[in-house]
Assembly symmetry: C2
Homo-oligomer: 132 residues x 2
DNA sequence: CGGAATCCTGCCTGATACTG
DNA sequence: CAGTATCAGGCAGGATTCCG
């Protein structure tokens, strides 16, 4: 007979799963890179430092909440730096660290892959959809 | 005065935003790669064909719904093939296409990057958290 | 075994208003 | 300008059940 409710089993499984994640660097990376805003911010900073408002305009569709949140986590992870200039009005600049730049290189490769192969993907998609 | 309700404006903005996305291959890629299960499936297939149940066990934490859904979209996009062997019980095998393999190469680089730099990220995270 | 269909919950996200 | 705080909703995604 079960000694745990479904909810308890779920919690136990989740804790176990989290522990496994914590021990596995590649899984942690995936969690981070699986955030589309992370990728877009990295791409947005590829050509140098940008101000908050510039990023906000460049990355169309991002809410200020998600932009701030994404910038914070990236800063926390040491992928970019946040510089506040005490002027009126205040200016905040974001810039990739060397670590962030090394990751951005890989992102750029992904972007290149996409642009090179997107037509193949679209063709495959069409032929898949054409089937009854 | 506004001639649209908030909901209408939202819908219009969204349509416009989607149209922009549709015209930009790199954005479409990001939408696809921002799915952590996509990455994990590609990694799971890197060493050759795998059966559904094998993938399900390898990719710990994935629900059957998300696994099936992910495999379907990847098949639709021409990144992997789905082969059904009419036996009892039925056997279904998934395998990367050449296109899928080329993307998997890049994913492997990301995985390597993660394993090489995760300690730096964790260090940065600790020092960030240590600040009052 | 390998799914499809259904229900249901939580969190992600966006909108809005306020601060320094 | 560059945020923080709060609230509401929509949908991603998990659990469950049933089918070929």
């Amino acid at each position: 007979m079960p000694t745990m409710t479904a909810a308890q089993r779920r919690a136990a499984d989740k804790a176990e799963y989290d522990a496994f994640l914590a021990a596995c660097p590649s899984r942690q990376l995936l969690d981070r890179l699986s955030d589309k805003w992370v990728t877009l911010v990295l791409v947005g900073l590829e050509e140098g430092p940008r101000r908050y408002s510039e990023l906000s305009r460049t990355i169309a569709g991002v809410s200020q909440k998600m932009l701030t949140q994404t910038l914070r986590t990236l800063e926390r992870d040491g992928l970019l730096t946040r510089t506040v200039t005490a002027s009126v009005p205040v200016t905040v600049t974001y810039e990739l660290t060397p670590l962030g730049r090394s990751l951005q290189q890989l992102m750029a490769q992904l972007k290149d892959w996409a642009e090179a192969h997107m037509d193949q993907v679209l063709t495959a998609r069409d032929s898949y959809d054409a089937q009854p």
